[in-house]
Subunit: 245 residues, 2 copies
């Protein structure tokens, strides 16, 4: 039911050619903590991996051999229950780090949503680099704190918000997550399907669709293209999202 594409061995290569210096995602990533003068250390460990839409980075239960930085595109992380129910833990964009909670094995699966590039490190080498470059460790700790706070907001959403509030929250939070595509304020790009939004928000795809229709009809949101829309009344939408009566 969900494809299990392998990662072709040839699409990842050790670089060493100073790629980090030109990485557009660096300012948004934990790599920003590494001073320019030390970038060669990162470069020496980094592999660039190019992914097509639907390709997997790893699967839940795989030995956790690598950590990743997303450099362009978007990634979903998810988990399945035995009977196929799916939960999408997060959508990741340029600058996001993958590998914070991981121990021996990955606790989630990760797949590209669209054409995506990630920067890959052997976990053991990355840990060694962390031990060497303290700022990197501090940056990861700060990032982990931010993600924890985001996870707590998401738990509130899942535990207590209505479908309308969930979708409204999603539309407001999503654009901020993708720093490479700031675009004009209020434009929301939706690279994922309705089904993926549903599995992220704890709803069904039908409910997501109906709820978006309601938001359009009420004029809070306008559809610009399939999977792109504009928030027309951000304050009203925010009030909705936060359960403001």
């Amino acid at each position: 039911m969900f494809e299990l594409n392998k990662l072709p061995a040839d699409c990842a290569q050790r670089r060493g050619g100073g790629g980090c210096a030109y990485c557009r995602a660096r300012p948004f990533s934990v790599c920003a903590s590494v001073p320019d003068a030390d970038l060669h250390r990162l470069d020496a460990l980094a592999e660039t991996v190019v992914l097509a839409a639907g390709q997997a980075l790893f699967h839940e239960g795989d030995p956790a051999g690598h950590v990743f930085n997303v450099t362009s595109g978007s990634v979903r992380t998810y988990r399945l229950l035995a009977d196929g129910r799916r939960h999408i833990a997060g959508f990741l964009f340029a600058g996001d780090f993958i590998g914070l909670g991981v121990g021996e094995t990955y606790g989630l699966s990760a797949e590209a949503i669209e054409a995506t590039t990630v920067c890959r490190f052997r976990a053991s080498e990355y840990r060694a680099l962390m031990a060497e470059r303290r700022e990197l460790e501090a940056a990861l700790l700060a990032r982990a704190g931010d993600e924890l706070a985001a996870a707590q907001r998401q738990m509130l959403l899942l535990a207590r918000k209505t479908a309308l509030e969930r979708v409204a929250s999603f539309l407001l939070d999503l654009p901020a997550a993708d720093p490479l595509r700031p675009g004009p304020a209020g434009i929301v790009r939706l690279p994922m399907t309705r089904s993926e939004m549903a599995d992220y928000l704890g709803l069904t795809l039908e409910t997501v669709s109906r709820t978006l229709t309601r938001l359009k009809r009420s004029g809070l949101v306008r559809q610009l293209a399939l999977n792109e829309l504009r928030v027309e009344k951000p304050d009203a939408l925010r009030a909705l999202a936060d359960g403001g009566a």
Copy 2:
């Protein structure tokens, strides 16, 4: 509707008397990363705070002046929506650290569930100590990773599990969270009310009560006392919790 008890100024005191060396929660906390020889550094910064049931440590939106370690008892962290809907983000026990995701202000409120002691540090001093003692920073990063993984499991629960699966998961995960009260295997102590369980699990208190009754009737669980029960069939309960058909 929810009490807003103040923290009496006199219940917290700077110690400096070598308390950390005798702290029963230390082996389970991030403090375990500080070598015995350096414990005086922790002691110098630590204040012991004794809390009665229901007393608040801080409220959402307060300036985040302190971080905490729980040393005994239990704490709930929660957030409210404008109309009073509550979500309990977590139950914390001896060894748990409070202050990972915090920035300028607290994003959650925290209150003692029962008689509780916590160890309090000024956030600025704790940050300075972290800069000085690297192992502490590493311990916090590891802890943050664990919490992130736990948050992801909880999001799966909230997004996709049924009431029965949620309660079963809760009963299995809770005992492991309280290291000072290991007790005989399979004994679950529930210091929180049905309403608090509900707000943690994204249910209502009635549904929690009915679901516990179902578990008792089906023989998976036996009630020993009010708020204490024993898991009779851990494997069956685990299968239930994980949605195993």
